[in-house]
């Protein structure tokens, strides 16, 4: 445990002395701010139109602005994460391998599991820190919207975002452990993220068993229910097993470094 904490602390301090974390978090906030603002304007315009239409028809409008807005917004946050998490994960092992510090870690009295989990938790913490400012939007909505935004949905959506991020980080750390080159590992992680994202589109265009299989593998297919506030077991198992697989593969990869190294 002491080793895990030491690795965790080192990774966190590394994130905050290197510009990577600042750049990634900054870009994320700019993008999410942009989308939130854009969607807000769009949804309100749409709601106004609806209201006017329904008044002409003589019916009450039941368009729920906060729910629709949060659903669209948090869905987009998931996609932004697909593109940004590679940058958080790419250096995790590549850089250690390149600098030779992996040799220090692997000859110290800490287990491979402590190294892997310490690094994973640190990158996950950064993800949480990155997401924290978006909570401000939610608070803002609570202060100003009527009806109040649905709690259940917000909780489910954030759980979904965190699961998606954790999955990308755990797969990313595995891919990062495969190469000494940060650029290569970054591109690998990015490619895999993109593929997992595109699977959804592929599966929708096809039909039959293959489409079903693709759909099951598609990340967004499992992510969307969370955004709608539905915490469904399939999704939990899906993300849980990817996270576990990523961490497991990273540990094996580190172990295999000992046997490969020439």
């Amino acid at each position: 445990m002491r080793g895990l904490y030491a690795i965790y602390r080192k990774e966190m301090s590394h994130y905050f002395v290197s510009p990577v974390a600042y750049v990634v978090v900054c870009i994320f906030l700019v993008l999410s701010g942009f989308f939130f603002n854009n969607y807000l304007v769009e949804v309100i315009t749409y709601a106004n139109n609806m209201m006017m239409e329904s008044m002409q028809m003589g019916q009450a409008s039941n368009f729920d602005v906060p729910t629709v807005l949060l659903r669209v917004f948090l869905g987009t946050v998931g996609i932004v994460l697909l593109f940004l998490t590679p940058f958080l994960a790419m250096g995790l092992y590549s850089e250690e391998r390149k600098r030779g510090t992996m040799e220090l870690l692997m000859t110290s009295p800490i287990t491979d599991a402590e190294i892997v989990l310490g690094k994973f938790l640190a990158s996950f913490t950064l993800l949480v820190i990155m997401l924290l400012p978006t909570v401000f939007y939610v608070i803002y909505m609570f202060a100003h919207s009527d009806p109040a935004p649905p709690w259940r949905m917000i909780g489910g959506a954030y759980l979904g975002v965190l699961l998606l991020g954790a999955m990308l980080l755990s797969l990313g750390s595995f891919l990062s452990s495969l190469t000494e080159n940060q650029i290569i590992s970054g591109v690998l992680i990015f490619g895999v993220s993109l593929l997992l994202w595109l699977l959804n589109a592929f599966s929708q265009s096809g039909s039959g068993v293959l489409a079903q299989v693709l759909q099951y593998a598609a990340v967004l297919h499992h992510y969307d229910p969370f955004v709608q506030g539905v915490i469904d077991t399939t999704g939990l198992v899906f993300f849980g097993s990817w996270i576990f697989l990523g961490i497991f593969l990273t540990m094996r990869s580190i172990e295999s470094m000992r046997w490969r190294r020439a």
Partner: protein, 324 residues
């Protein structure tokens, strides 16, 4: 303290370390001397548990480096060839991190980091980022990292590389000062370094141990002139008498080969003397058939020539002479 038995490490087809056996006593400084690619780094990596051995065993303080890796890792400090530094950390923060992962208890950590910086003379750079340090300072931070947890065994891969002459002397003093309470293995390809710091030297070439001795004896063997091996058809006594009469022959050892009355003699010549032509003349003059005549520690000399690399231009000439 360290016992290595028939250790072999192969990378695919290539055997980097080939059945080496040695041991190091507690408090001793052992030097690994050999040209680049001789297998020094590989041996050290096996000892630290970084690489598993293909065959054979290595034990540190009674613990197998593979089966009891954690116990071994607790007891060693290791400076790899390239110091494993986190460039964007400060010196003190880095040593603090290493102390943590090396299981130094929290209450002792600050004091150990302080001591390690003191010993390696980097206290004045404690708050400096490692990436801003010169090569020599980086090397010393690497050294501090290897001793910060006060390990029983210290393994140093080329500890003086990249240092200026003054720093080299300081580091050698430091290493000598650590001996006694610590067992140290260091590798180098600089001959004088070994004679100045080490109690015992292992010369390794192409993955095999070529010689194990104290630096003094090795130097004697090197400077004490060539040994010449003679095989001739004569009795032990005859051969000894004949060879001992040659001026410059300091010691003659003879051994009968048994079959066909042949005898082998090893003649040690004084420094810088080549007695081969005299020996040949003497034996032929006696009318004894001469079967073999050659300089014996050619390989050792060759290695030393490679190691010291003081004058690479001389090497081919001497080599051909030795084989004549």
């Amino acid at each position: 303290m360290i016992e290595v038995q028939d250790l072999t490490k192969a990378f695919g087809e290539k055997t980097a370390v080939d059945r080496i056996t040695f041991s190091v006593n507690k408090g001793e400084i052992l030097g690994f001397l050999g040209p680049n690619g001789a297998g020094k780094t590989t041996t050290m990596r096996v000892l630290t548990g970084y690489l598993p051995a293909t065959e054979g065993t290595a034990k540190i303080a009674g613990f197998d480096v593979f089966d009891d890796s954690m116990e071994v890792r607790r007891r060693i400090g290791y400076l790899p060839e390239n110091p494993p530094l986190y460039l964007d950390m400060s010196v003190a923060a880095y040593l603090g991190f290493v102390a943590r992962i090396k299981n130094v208890p929290a209450e002792k950590r600050a004091q150990r980091v302080e001591a390690a910086m003191e010993m390696t003379k980097i206290s004045d750079k404690r708050n400096e980022l490692i990436k801003r340090l010169s090569r020599g300072y980086k090397q010393r931070v690497g050294l501090a990292q290897a001793i910060v947890h006060d390990p029983d065994v210290i393994i140093l891969d080329e500890p003086t590389v990249g240092l200026d002459p003054k720093q080299i002397i300081e580091v050698r003093h430091l290493i000598k000062g650590l001996a006694g309470s610590h067992t140290i293995i260091l590798s180098t390809h600089i001959l004088p370094e070994v004679s100045m710091t080490c109690d015992r030297v292992i010369i390794i070439n192409n993955g095999k141990i070529v010689a194990v001795d104290t630096p003094e004896n090795l130097t004697l063997r090197l400077k004490g002139g060539a040994r010449i091996r003679v095989e001739a058809q004569a009795s032990e006594q005859q051969l000894r008498d004949a060879l001992e009469n040659i001026p410059g022959a300091q010691r003659v050892q003879v051994e009968s080969l048994g079959s066909g009355g042949r005898t082998v003699a090893v003649v040690e010549a004084g420094q810088g003397k080549d007695l081969r032509s005299q020996i040949a003349a003497k034996i032929v003059g006696q009318g004894w058939p001469l079967y073999e005549l050659r300089g014996q520690n050619v390989s050792l000399e060759e290695i030393f020539l490679q190691l010291t690399t003081e004058d690479p231009a001389h090497k081919p000439a001497e080599k051909s002479e030795e084989h004549s």
